[in-house]
Homo-oligomer: 127 residues x 2
């Protein structure tokens, strides 16, 4: 039971052009063809979920492709995951501090906001 590109597009929320683009980048492969038309395995959908998730996480498509190509027992893969985990952690901390600055900014009374000492300090912390 293979899916055509329109169906994969609809279910994954990715444009057909994006799917072809991902194929060029080595992220996905159609299982076969009906004439010229790509036919995808259902499994491709979960692969795409993984891809969009990783992409949203700030992985580049090239990084994701490398992950997906990585063989089993790949210690390099694990190491890269761990490295990315550290990166993401740092980003979370940074964004959390920034969120706090914004939260304060939205309610503070200083006028120009840029002069608010709390805001200024928050910005410095958020760096």
């Amino acid at each position: 039971m293979l899916l055509d590109i329109a169906e994969v597009s609809q279910r994954s929320g990715l444009a057909p052009s994006a799917l072809r683009f991902y194929e060029r980048k080595g992220l996905i492969t159609p299982d076969g063809r009906n004439g010229l038309r790509r036919a995808y395995q259902a499994e491709t959908l979960s692969r795409l979920t993984l891809i969009t998730c990783a992409r949203d996480a700030g992985f580049t498509l090239a990084e994701i492709a490398a992950f997906l190509r990585a063989g089993p027992s790949d210690t390099v893969l694990r190491e890269r995951m761990a490295a990315k985990e550290r990166e993401v952690s740092e980003r979370v901390d940074q964004l959390t501090r920034l969120r706090d600055s914004l939260r304060h900014a939205a309610v503070c009374e200083h006028d120009p906001l840029v002069e608010c000492p709390e805001f200024k300090q928050a910005i410095r912390r958020a760096r």
Copy 2:
């Protein structure tokens, strides 16, 4: 006491080309010129700190320019800050979930990792 572009570049960590680029985008303005050379107020440095911080936070340069142009008592500004705060919060949550997935991935024993049920589930949660 005005600073020239090399000094601002060095202290801000931004390339001169980036400073000129920001000028074209309306983010900064030199206070004057020495001949052709830009002369910046010291204040520009804190403005740049604010800019890089906001940029790191995921604001586009266009958004930042709009913020900086916003007048005092600007309720629109506050509203945009609040909106961005919500955006950033969401992103923090999402990245936090992702970080947890990666954290697990780095230590889990499944081989291909993609088959790990915990990982799969974490991905679904992270969406």
